[in-house]
């Protein structure tokens, strides 16, 4: 790779006591690339995401974001470098409204978040940006609804909206279609297809149709190790991958 990779994992490992969840994973994602991360349950995919986003500290190895070593940086500093993620289990501010959720996301990387004595309403640019994002994911008419009253599908849309608020350069999507019906999955796939092509995407997906519709490079994980990494047709044809995914893809 001649250009600086968006994400570079070197010999990344994570052990929880005796359980080695991630074993020496090496990964390189180019800027603007769309990469799918597949693997059966327990393969270590979400743990890998948690290592990349900073929720978990690695037992060994290094993580680089756009050429910068972030291994010891806390989550919020990685976000400032252009990293955003969605969660597999919806993680929104459930008793706040849709607009309030977006406002929270929009001001996260701005100086205004530490402003003490002026009301939020005196920062119209925050509202404008929040509304623009809601428009782009199709949730404009739900602005005043409390998040816990939204349908599951709408909440998954919110997850994407929240992640887009900080203008990320690298977006980690953890099972964006989790719990969605076929129709909802299709809508979600369309939404994700329309994302800015400059954003680098790393997607964990169990639904192979969605994974292959959105990406052309695939990394397969099994028991914490990478077992295949390359173009999706190669990985699809990989005998080890076929063995593990008996019956799917």
């Amino acid at each position: 790779m001649t250009q600086v990779p968006a994400l570079s994992l070197t010999d990344l490992s994570k052990a929880f006591g005796g359980l080695r969840a991630v074993k020496g994973v090496a990964l390189c994602v180019a800027p603007g690339e769309r990469r799918a991360l597949i693997g059966p349950n327990g393969a270590g995919k979400t743990t890998l995401f948690n290592l990349i986003s900073g929720e978990l500290a690695p037992s060994a190895g290094r993580i680089s974001l756009f050429g910068q070593d972030v291994t010891s940086l806390p989550s919020h500093r990685r976000a400032a470098l252009g990293l955003a993620r969605t969660f597999q289990i919806t993680n929104l501010f459930s008793s706040l409204t849709v607009l309030e959720n977006l406002l929270m996301a929009v001001q996260a990387l701005e100086r205004t978040k530490l402003m003490l004595l002026r009301p939020v309403s005196s920062y119209p640019h925050l509202f404008a940006r929040a509304r623009a994002i809601l428009e782009s994911v199709g949730l404009s008419d739900k602005e005043g609804d409390v998040v816990k009253n939204l349908s599951h599908g709408e909440q998954r849309q919110m997850e994407i909206a929240m992640a887009l608020a900080g203008r990320p350069r690298l977006l980690l999507l953890d099972e964006p279609t989790a719990g969605l019906s076929l129709a909802e999955s299709r809508l979600m796939t369309e939404l994700l297809k329309e994302l800015d092509s400059e954003i680098t995407l790393l997607i964990i997906e169990h639904d192979m149709d969605v994974a292959f519709a959105l990406t052309d490079r695939v990394t397969a994980l099994h028991n914490g190790s990478v077992i295949a990494d390359g173009h999706r047709d190669e990985v699809k044809a990989n005998p080890l991958v076929r063995e593990i995914y008996l019956g799917s893809a």
Partner: protein
Amino acid sequence: MTGGRRRTLGLLAVGALLLALPPFLSAYPLTLLTQGLIYAIFAMSLDLLLGYTGLASLGHAAYFGVAAYVVAIMTTMHHAGFWTCLVLALIAASLVSAIFGLVAIRAVGVYFLMITLALGMVVWGLAFRWVSLTQGDNGISGVPRPRLGPWSFAHQTAFYYLTLATFLVALGLLLLVVRSPYGMSLRGIRESEGRMRSLGYNVWLHKYLVFILAATFAGLAGFLWAYYNGFVSPVEVQLITSVETLLMVALGGPGTLVGPAVGAGVIVFLKNFVSLYTKRWLLILGGVYIGVILFAPQGLMGALRTGHHQNRKTLGWPKRAERGGPW
């Protein structure tokens, strides 16, 4: 008339009464009202921590007491004036919380509760044993009423209005804070710290700052208390004081500011009323607490908002679980 409008009118009515009634009240009700207002400031400061940020502290009285002791010591031993005492009391409260916060904020949930309890005990222990400074459990008596230039606040009515003015200033400042972008971030932290971190918030810093802010306002209440009571002792920093204040917030409605202020008034009046008939105030307090959890987990303000009907449907546990936190 909508609920919101009814509430605003109700609050304005209460405000009008607070302003106009006192010259017609006799001494005892007036002192209760003054006490209620001082505890209202204390309760609102705890609400900032508990209701808005989701940090339940069992040691908030530490900062209330530290400020009260500063006033007591400075007035009786150094004859310091009103403004000197105010500045020193607030600095003392924020300094102690800044130090304690370094230890406490790293803890989450139940552990935060335990650490704040322990730190509160540390302050109580110091108040008890550092006899040369605090006179131990004899306490410091003879704290005179303040003078502001030519005006003396020795008279109960004058001191009441001073307290009311301070309360209104505190309420105004706290309302600004909770409506600010920073205030909004506190709610986000209460709902989901993990999300806040991944969005880019330095959650530790925001929690640390609110800890100090809440302690400073508690210090403001303690400052007034020393003048009001004329006597400061380890009682000001004991665990029961922290617990009673926690109950004021729970009873009034966490996360509403005005609710805890009302809760403070209710508890102060209840305590003084009940004490006329029985020594078992703590038993009653416990009963009230259980009642709040079972029947009005969102407090009085919450019950007014959603309507009595809705609260009766649940026993409160699901709401607790939704809100999260270390209850």
